[in-house]
Symmetry: C2
Subunit: 336 residues, 2 copies
């Protein structure tokens, strides 16, 4: 019978594993490399929820893996998140991350880009040092491949001024960009560390839950508590992100309003008048698009949980299986 580690302890254990894998400023042979170490440790030291790493550990424990063998894989998944966010923030021109300036704003774009590459390599370094199986390594190649593909879709829609997109396009894009690494990969990696071939249901349910997570993220971007959210509120409008909320708003807006919104969204960030962004933000909040999106997220949550519950509750370790379900529920029903 596996005892479920307390969430705070588990989070700290993963976090320590991440930081131990990075160069330390104190041991750097020259001042420039102490700065390099500080760049690499910056996002990891900003904290964060460590949700993906924790989900991976609970899934693995439910499947019978030992925590000791799960921690490096969880740390690698968190390192994935760190380097992907550094590069995302550059790509999206984001100003803030977790309540502080984005890394490329704090240092420079070239240094931040390079630090992201170094963290990417450290992600593989942690996996290789832990001698994880090839199946685990393959899952990591899959999760990076899919995230990059989804990221390309989103960016090319923004650059191409595309407004001919449907909710189905959005769901396909965020399935690749966010849901796979947020929910599918952690669930599957847990099983793989336990030496179990992941059942299909993990991907089916994980996609739904991960998409639900991203929809909530999009909602919080427009209506979250600035103190808790850690990123610029309405940043997605400044950046022109094609979210389910925006697509639903545009679909249901009167023609004049739709044209005005599209004209604004076509402008690059630095040419968007603040008053127009405020106008669009207000119109979206008043339109019911947020409620619609939350309903879709709740539906996905329910469908995902209904699919996943029987698969997990049949496993030998019910306490971590219950931990998986609770964590996934929190992912979709969070306020920050």
């Amino acid at each position: 019978m596996t005892v479920l580690p307390a969430p705070a302890e588990l989070r700290e254990a993963i976090q320590n594993h991440v930081l131990d894998a990075l160069p330390s400023p104190e041991r750097a042979p020259r001042a420039e490399l102490a700065e390099y170490a500080r760049l690499l440790r910056d996002y990891p030291q900003r904290g964060g929820k460590t949700l993906r790493g924790m989900l991976l550990c609970y899934s693995g424990l439910a499947y019978g893996a030992e925590l000791e063998r799960l921690l490096p894989v969880a740390a690698a998944l968190e390192l994935f998140q760190h380097w992907a966010l550094i590069h995302d923030d550059i790509e999206d021109g984001s100003d803030e991350r977790r309540g502080k300036p984005a890394l490329h704003k704090l240092y420079s774009l070239p240094l931040a880009l390079n630090a992201g590459d170094a963290l990417h390599a450290r992600m593989w370094g942690v996996l290789v040092e832990a001698r994880v199986s090839y199946a685990v390594l393959e899952e990591f190649t899959r999760l990076v491949d899919r995230t990059a593909e989804g990221q390309h879709l989103e960016m090319t829609w923004m650059e191409g001024q595309r407004f001919d997109l449907t909710p189905a396009d959005y769901l396909e894009m965020v399935g690749q960009k966010a849901a796979y690494y947020t929910a599918v990969a952690p669930l599957r990696l847990g099983a793989l560390v336990a030496g179990v071939e992941p059942p299909k249901v993990l991907e089916e349910a994980g996609m739904k839950l991960g998409i639900g997570f991203q929809i909530v993220d999009d909602r919080l971007n427009l209506s979250g508590d600035p103190a808790k959210y850690g990123k610029e509120i309405a940043g997605d409008l400044w950046e022109g992100k094609r979210t389910l909320i925006l697509l639903h708003f545009l679909q249901n807006a009167a023609p004049a309003e739709r044209s005005r919104a599209e004209a604004l969204l076509r402008k690059p960030r630095e040419h968007k008048p603040e008053s127009e962004v405020r106008w669009l933000h207000g119109r979206i909040l008043a339109s019911g698009a947020l409620d619609y999106a939350q309903q879709v997220a709740e539906q996905l949550l329910e469908q995902g949980m209904t699919t996943l519950r029987p698969a997990l509750m049949g496993l030998p370790n019910p306490a971590p299986a219950q931990g998986v379900l609770e964590l996934l529920q929190q992912l979709v029903r969070r306020e920050a």
Copy 2:
């Protein structure tokens, strides 16, 4: 007795392995992903010398590895070069690569950055699919770590307007940034694929030869044949690179000339007057700094070859061992 594959055939075999590992536009499920596949294939399809992959194969054959097991590792090393160049070109603000616009000029910075990340993941994908040993995977984490560290050094010197640098600083920086992945890693990976623990001499000689290679690269940047070089001539001056040639010139320039050169190098690329860049270029060409640099490169070549020759000629397969030596000689004595 191993028959040495002809260079052109070997190059083509490595190149095919690289392209087979990438998504194809024809099989993409939507137009945006066909574009994504084209982005990923762009630098790999520009050709290039494939020197590092070939060096790796010759080294491996000399140590007794089978070509079939060397090709995926050589392809992964070439993929490293492709993603690193895409990101380098962004970091350095380079306009051209192999005679065409840099990827971020052809598409956009966000799309190019993301394509680089995808190629980085494909590099690991090729290694994992080929089920290479953990020792080979560890060597890849090492080569990315070291390259990123060297890249940080170079960029932070440029951003920090540093001119207090010595030839020893330059040698340390290019050892990390270029020599390790260009010469040390290919030599070591060949041995590792053959299941042989690489002798220390491979790193010692590889560092010298790789630094020699980079010095020649810096020289060609200032005095190469534009038709063959494939990058903007004097691009290093526009970008403010701290090369051995520049450091030697500054060290030996009269005070007034040194101040004028430093004032120019402090300016960001877009504020550098073309006439001043031409002036500095002319002064460097006339100063003898290029001859000095070529002498240093020749010395490094001779020292490296003297160290390496006895180690390689004692191996069971003299033909590929000879191939290694010839290729390394070409690296330092090339004109493009």
